[in-house]
C-alpha cells in the first residue's frame, strides 16, 4: 500500500497535507482499498466549523458507508466538487484528484497530534 512520506495521517485513515494555514484531507490508499468501489460522497458544508475527530463527510462504497473525520479543529474552506460526478476518483487517485476537503486550521500545533508515515505504516501493518 502506498503511504507517501510527505503526508500526515490519522488513526481513522485520513491523510493530511499541510498547505500554509490550511490542510488538504483525503483517505489513504489502504482505506480506499478496504472500502472497495466508492459510489457516493457526501461532502461537508462550506464554512462549517469542526472539532478534531468530528464526522464531517461520508464516503459510501458498494457495500458500506463510512464517516470521514476532521483531523484537527478548523473550518471548511474548500471541498472537492469533482467527487459528486466521479466518486471513483477516491479509488483511482486517493492522494491526488481524490482529495475530499480543505480545512483552515485553528492551531498549527494541533498537527503534532497526527501520525507520520512511519507510524501509520505500522498501524496498518
Amino acid at each position: 500500500m502506498n503511504v507517501p512520506d510527505d503526508l500526515l495521517y490519522t488513526e481513522s485513515h485520513e491523510w493530511i497535507k499541510r498547505e500554509g494555514d490550511n490542510v488538504r484531507v483525503g483517505i489513504t490508499d489502504h482505506a480506499q482499498s478496504e472500502l472497495t468501489d466508492v459510489v457516493y460522497v457526501e461532502l461537508p458544508k462550506m464554512d462549517r466549523q469542526a472539532n478534531a475527530k468530528e464526522a464531517i463527510a461520508i464516503v459510501e462504497s458498494v457495500k458500506a458507508a463510512s464517516d470521514i473525520y476532521a483531523p484537527v479543529k478548523g473550518t471548511i474552506v474548500e471541498m472537492n466538487k469533482a467527487l459528486e460526478a466521479d466518486p471513483g476518483l477516491i479509488n483511482r487517485e486517493p492522494y491526488g484528484q481524490g482529495w475530499i476537503f480543505v480545512l483552515k486550521i485553528d492551531n498549527a500545533d494541533d498537527l503534532k497530534q497526527l501520525k507520520d508515515a512511519a507510524a501509520y505504516k505500522q498501524q496498518i501493518g
Partner: protein
Amino acid sequence: MRDHSRCLVWRVSEVAQRKTPLYDEHVRLGAKMVPFAGWLMPVQYTSIVAEHQAVRNDVGMFDISHMGQFIVDGTGAREWLNKMLTNDINKLDVGMGQYTLLLNENGGIIDDLIVYRIGDQNFLLVVNAARAEEDFAWLQKHLQAVAAAVSAANTVEIDNRSTEFGGVAIQGPRLVELFHALFGTHKEPPARNHIVDLPFDGMKVSVARTGYTGEDGIEVFFRATDAVKVWNAALENGKSLGIKPCGLGARDTLRLEMCYPLNGSDLSPERNPIEAGLGFFVDLTKPNFIGRDALLKAKEIGPREKLVSFRMKEKGPPPRPHYAVFQNGERIGEVTSGTLSPSLNWGVGMAYVSTTHAKVGAEIGIEIRGQKFPAIIEKKPLYKKSTS
C-alpha cells in the same frame, strides 16, 4: 474513516472462521477475505464493479464451497421431502432440480434451496451456508418424527456432505464457450435447472445449469480435494474469454439487480413466502407439507406486508438495509437489501412495505441519515438484459 454500515462486517472477527478448499487460491489472487456465515470468503479480488461487469458481459467464477450439500435417499425419500419442502418434488424427473423452500410450522422461511433429483430415490439439496446446520438439524428432527408415518417399509436417510464437497458457480453470457473449453466441444451443458455428472480430467464433477446472477450459468460440484484443479482449469481456459474470479460483493449486486432474495436479509423465519413474493415456489395443492396450514390462513387474511423492489429517482447515496421507507409522511416499511446497481448506475433495493402501499409505480421515500430521498417501486427484475 469508520464503517457505520450494518450490512457487512469487514474485519476478521475473533471467532474461528472455516476456510473453503479454495482459500489459498483466493489469497494468492489477492482477494480481500471477510467472514461470512462462519466462513472466510472473498468479498472481492480487484473491484466489485469490475467483477459484476465480467459476469454481465463475459464470464465470472465464484467459490460456492461454503454452501451446504445434503444427500437424501431411500424408498421413502421423495414422499418425505415433499412433506418438508414447499414445491412439488413429483415434478422432478431424474436429473432435474427446482427452487424450493423449507418452512417452519408458522409458514416462516427457514431456508431457500435447490433440490435436485439425482437418482430414482436420491436427492441432492444445496442450501445456504448460514443455515446449513440449522436446516440439517431441522430435517433430522423431522425425519425421526415422520419416518414412522411414511410407512415402515420405506426408508429415508439424510447425509450432510457439506465438508466433502466443493463448488464453483460459473456465470455469464460466455458460459457455453467456457463449458466447451473445459468439457470438450462434443458435450453440451445440461438444460436449465438440470444436473449431470461429467468426467473432468480424471475426476467426476456434477454440473447444474443454474445460478444466482440472472445470466446463463452453471454450478459445478466436486470433491473438496479436487477444488483447486477445477478452479484453476476454469481460470486458465477462461482467460481468452475474459473470465474474472468474483467475490461475494459482486454476487450480492448481481442477485439484487435480479431481485433474487437473500436469506438473512430478505427472507427470515418471521417472513412467509406470500409476503416474500415466492408463492410460485409453494404448491398449496399438495395435501401436506410443513407450513401449509399457516400459509392457507395467511393467504385468506392477506399479507400485511410485501417485499417490493425499488429504484432511487435521483443520484444520491445508495439505499441500505434497515433504512425506513415512507409515503406521504407515513412510515410504510423498511429496506432489507440495497446497493448501487453497477449495471443501471442507480441506487436499487428491496423493502418490505405494507401491502396497501406495495404498488408498482408508487412513489416512496427512503430515509437516509434523516433526509428522505425519492424512489419508485418497480417491477421485478430491476435489471433486464437488453436483447439488442
